[in-house]
Amino acid sequence: MASLSNGQDERKRRLLQRYGTTVWPSFLVAAVASVVFFGNIDPETLQVQTLPEWNISRLGGYTIGFFMFWGVGLASSILCLILQKMGNRPT
């Protein structure tokens, strides 16, 4: 692409690529995982069973669950990215 010829744009491209291989895929996976998980498990039951002294609404439970899934996916993606980069370096 002509507009990505200079160094600045090349850096921008790499940044976006990194964003695209970590933040975005983990977001998509977290969305699916949340649907599957909460389709079968009621966050309210989970809260009563595990953290009875906390007051978390269902909506709050879904949200926390979603971001937890996203966080886990993101951590895994970032590790993948780092490991892949190190693999390119001569040992």
Binding site: M1, P25, V35, D42
Partner: protein, 458 residues
């Protein structure tokens, strides 16, 4: 994050300003934008009887879809729906390429809407390019500010609508007016708004190029008979400028006048004349742009057109290929199964739990009793009275506190059931028997569960 990485975040990219083109495909795309956004923004406002027609009521774990209500127990339909969506994507991709990307993907649709607003405030492509380079005068501030104001209002309304699919939208509207929404509603409203604003206003085609997984694996569904957008190289090359009345053959030129309109129209900034590229979202803007030029030059249309690899190579094109047929058959089978199963769905489900403390009880010398808790879920929108019956063991009888078990619309209730079997009819522990619950109002509404009766081992 290292310093170098930090600095990268502030480097501005050369923004792509796609040129506005007119033509049949762009009309189709605009129509798709209007229809899809109309559905998205309109659907939550529809009412069905006395509730919202489409409401994914997360707080009470019920999904309302017009006349149907789904419960977590109906999870299988959601799984089937995801399979249907995936199969449809495979089918349409094999048949017609990236139809999804060009016409239906939310990223494309919202980007189009955001570009309309940009055009409204900042003018056409030339004006926008000039404005990008212009100093910050009063005019620029006004135009930029106007654009962002429009974008933000639109994005906020988008976020509001999104939450309206999960919380009744009329209540939500009141909540926003009175600033009395719950924390999580505010959170999702703003989260979705910011995501819309960022994705459709700034990231745009970069989502397709750098982030979209579908863009990477769609080529696996392609074959030589899939519809793609392609430039007829044989006809167009060698490209070059010429006078309108000149005879290109005499000058040794092809039909491409190298006006670059196809490149300017492209929302992902590629040159289709370089061949099929994964950045191409098949929006057909270049087709419309080129056909307009061909008309002006009095050349035949279709220098850039929907075609297939086989057609370009001069081979016969086939629509019905094994791949397409297999996808279609699978899709129809899953859809038919799903439709049948939904039509046969009974708005009632039960769970039978045996008493964990006492395995069995001797009522008298001749009778053994087991106690069960039956959890009844009335998924219907009216209250039902149910009658309970047991079957499957000789002389089996059931006793409930009330003969009529009444459960309200969309509610759950538990009843304790004492089941008795004559001792001489028991043949060891774990004898299966059937427990049947039937509505007194509607005999079609009934379910049968199998449970196990425990007795002494002689």
């Amino acid at each position: 994050m290292s310093e170098q990485q930090q600095s990268e975040m502030y480097v501005a990219r050369e923004k792509i300003h796609p040129r506005e083109v007119k033509g049949p495909f762009q009309h189709l795309r605009n129509l798709a934008v209007v229809v899809l956004l109309g559905i998205y923004y309109g659907l939550p406002w529809l009412q069905w009887d006395d509730r919202q027609a489409v409401l994914f009521d997360l707080p009470s774990r019920q999904f309302h879809l017009f006349a149907l209500t789904f419960w977590p127990q109906d999870f299988v339909y959601l799984a089937l729906l995801l399979i249907v969506a995936a199969l449809s994507l495979f089918f349409f991709t094999a048949l017609a390429g990236r139809l999804w990307c060009g016409y239906a993907c939310p990223q494309t649709v919202w980007t189009e809407a955001f570009i309309w607003m940009e055009r409204l405030t900042e003018g056409n492509r030339q004006k926008r390019l000039r404005l990008d380079k212009a100093p910050w005068t009063r005019k620029k501030i006004l135009r930029r500010g106007g654009k962002h104001l429009l974008w933000i209002v639109f994005a906020l309304f988008t976020g509001f609508t999104f939450v309206g699919y999960f919380t009744p939208i009329l209540e939500l509207g009141q909540g926003v007016m009175q600033l009395s929404l719950g924390f999580w509603e505010w959170f999702w409203l703003l989260f979705y708004s910011v995501a819309t604003w960022g994705n459709a206003g700034f990231l745009r085609e970069q989502v397709c190029i750098y982030m979209c997984p579908y863009a990477r694996f769609q080529s696996a569904m392609f074959d030589r008979n899939t519809l793609i957008i392609s430039y007829d190289e044989e006809r167009g090359e060698p490209r070059g400028g010429r006078a309108r009345k000149a005879d290109p053959k005499a000058q040794g030129l092809g039909d491409c006048i190298d006006c670059n309109l196809c490149v300017q129209a492209c929302p992902t900034g590629i040159d289709i004349r370089e061949g099929l590229q994964y950045e191409c979202i098949a929006c057909a803007a270049c087709i419309d742009a080129c056909n307009g030029v061909m008309d002006k030059m009095n050349y035949p249309r279709g220098l850039i057109r929907y075609s297939t690899e086989n057609a370009i190579a001069g081979k016969p094109a086939r629509v019905l290929r094994p791949r397409v047929v297999v996808y279609a058959v699978l899709l129809l089978a899953v859809l038919a199964g799903m439709g049948y199963s939904i039509s046969q769905r009974v708005p009632l489900s039960i769970e039978v739990l045996a008493d964990r403390n006492v395995v069995y009880r001797e009522v008298d010398w001749a009778t053994i009793e087991n106690v069960f808790t039956v959890r009844i879920l009335n998924k219907d929108r009216i209250a039902h009275d149910y009658a309970l019956r047991v079957d499957g063991l000789e002389g089996i009888e059931a006793f409930v506190q009330d003969d009529r078990i009444r459960v309200g619309a969309g509610s759950t209730d538990s009843v304790v059931v004492r089941v008795q079997v004559p001792r001489d009819k028991i043949d060891g522990p774990g004898q299966p028997f059937q427990l049947r619950l039937e509505s007194l109002q509607d005999p079609d509404v009934h379910v049968t569960n199998t449970a196990r009766f425990n007795g002494p081992r002689d």
